[in-house]
């Protein structure tokens, strides 16, 4: 199959970017989206041009490294998958694809499709942990956790931090990402002890990074490759309001 790719090219964080159009022939329907970019880059390298920079790592939808805006949708037109899980069979022969980096004030572009998501790391570092001495794994049955609670915490922990929620939010809000970590820890007895202090620190850091306000449009959940629920945001609000009333 044949595709026309309009790709955002930007030499550095400070450079002015622009779209460049490339045409690829002889593509296979079974190729993944990132394999298609590999093919393009191979051609560019052969021609002596600079290849397109894009983030990727595991290529099996669990690391959260890849992610770009494809025809105006985060991770492309299919719901519940990351960019690496997207295949060319989702497109038609002759289609034009516009490929842009995830954009938000807190996610500056480093080069081409690669963005700086270290704001997420700083949010986690501000409180997304349990202050307990580490050692060997504790005995699993020493703290009993009901099955549905464990499952619910695991659903929150499913967030891979890809940033699609921020990219797709009309407000550039990181509420889904931040709340997923807050809820994950607040649901479990080990995390409960620091729940109030944690939510205050993480929300303050989220604001410091320049993310927008959550207005509950729920677009984040619809575009999240892991289907992380917006109810995590409700739990974050609950924990935060509790900390306001009772002190951190």
């Amino acid at each position: 199959m044949k595709l026309r790719l309009k790709i955002w090219r930007q030499d550095s964080a400070t450079a002015q970017g622009m779209f460049k159009t490339y045409t690829l022939d002889n593509l296979e329907k079974g190729m993944s989206f990132l394999e298609m970019l590999d093919v393009l880059n191979q051609q560019l390298v052969t021609k002596g041009e600079r290849p397109v920079v894009f983030d990727h790592d595991c290529r099996e939808g669990i690391c959260g490294t890849c992610g770009m805006m494809i025809n105006g949708r985060a991770h492309g037109p299919i719901g519940g998958i990351t960019t690496c899980q997207l295949h060319l069979r989702s497109f038609n022969d002759g289609d034009e694809l516009t490929i842009e980096p995830f954009r938000a004030k807190a996610f500056p572009v480093i080069k081409d499709l690669k963005i700086d998501r270290s704001a997420f790391d700083r949010i986690i570092a501000s409180g997304g942990y349990i202050s307990a001495s580490t050692g060997s794994a504790p005995e699993a049955n020493s703290i009993l956790i009901p099955h549905d609670v464990a499952e619910s915490a695991f659903d929150s922990a499913a967030c891979i931090g890809c940033g699609a929620c921020v990219a797709t939010c009309k407000n550039g809000s990181a509420a889904l990402f931040t709340s997923a970590k807050i809820s994950h820890l607040a649901k479990l007895p080990q995390g409960r002890a620091e729940a109030r202090a944690r939510v205050v620190k993480m929300v303050e850091q989220m604001d410091k990074e320049g993310f927008g306000h959550c207005t509950n449009t729920e677009a984040c959940e619809a575009e999240c490759p892991m289907g992380v629920s917006v109810l995590n945001i409700a739990q974050m609000n609950w924990e935060y309001n509790k900390a306001l009333l009772l002190g951190a």
Binding site: W8, G72, T98, N171, N216
Partner: protein
């Protein structure tokens, strides 16, 4: 000025829900306009006089004015902040992921705010600050003022359009405010959402149907003859 995003949202939620409570009381009062003219005029004017003279109502009314202003001012603050935080795309299909009214709260809110200004001028200012005509019982005749305005087809249309905007604003606003308060339970999420939709429909349709009713009653003969001509 509140700095944290969650505090600003909390203020929006609390003022919004307070205004939602007020809408219920306001609608219940308006239902008197469905009564036959003789009863409605005396009862509605007596009700208006009782409300404007009551100290408790005066205190709540100040809270109401402040809520409207705070809700509107913070809406602007939040919108400006969000515009700066969010990204712009050459091709933007993000709209498929959320309902249009959840993304248009600012626009819908602006329609409502303009309506409130007109509404205050027509009734609140007119009642409180002008020497308006009195009724047969010596009370300010707000009923006739309402009925006169509701006899104007353009005013009725403005009113109905504003109520449609309010309906959509509430459709997102009520559920969103409850989320912001963080009051939720896996089991009752659906119940809250359905109750929010029911509230929005009842309130907006309830308000909108009153001017239509008053207009139709006033112009029934002309409307009937129009129908017969066809």
């Amino acid at each position: 000025m509140l700095k944290l995003t969650l505090l600003r949202k909390l203020l929006m939620a609390l003022t919004g829900l307070f205004l939602c409570l007020f809408l219920v009381i306001h609608l219940l009062g308006n239902l008197q306009l469905f009564l036959p003219k003789e009863i409605a005029q005396e009862q509605f004017n007596a009700y208006s006089q009782a409300l404007s003279g009551n100290l408790f109502i005066k205190v709540v009314a100040i809270g109401l004015y402040l809520s409207i202003l705070a809700h509107a001012i913070y809406a602007v603050v939040i919108t400006i902040h969000n515009r700066k935080s969010s990204g712009k795309y050459a091709i933007d299909e993000r709209k498929v992921a959320s309902p249009w009214y959840s993304r248009s709260m600012g626009l819908l809110g602006t329609v409502i705010f303009v309506f409130i200004v007109i509404h205050f001028q027509n009734f609140w200012y007119y009642y409180k600050f002008t020497d308006m005509p009195l009724d047969a019982w010596g009370r300010k005749d707000l009923y006739s003022a309402v009925v006169n305005l509701f006899g104007n087809v353009w005013y009725v249309m403005l009113y109905v359009v504003s109520m449609v905007a309010m309906g959509y604003h509430l459709l997102h606003g009520v559920a969103s405010a409850v989320r912001t308060l963080g009051v939720y339970h896996q089991k009752y999420v659906r119940v809250v959402n359905v109750a929010g939709v029911a509230y929005s429909v009842i309130i907006s349709v309830g308000f909108a149907i009153i001017p239509i009713y008053v207009y139709v009653v006033q112009h029934q003969e002309r409307l009937l003859s129009l129908l017969q001509l066809k």
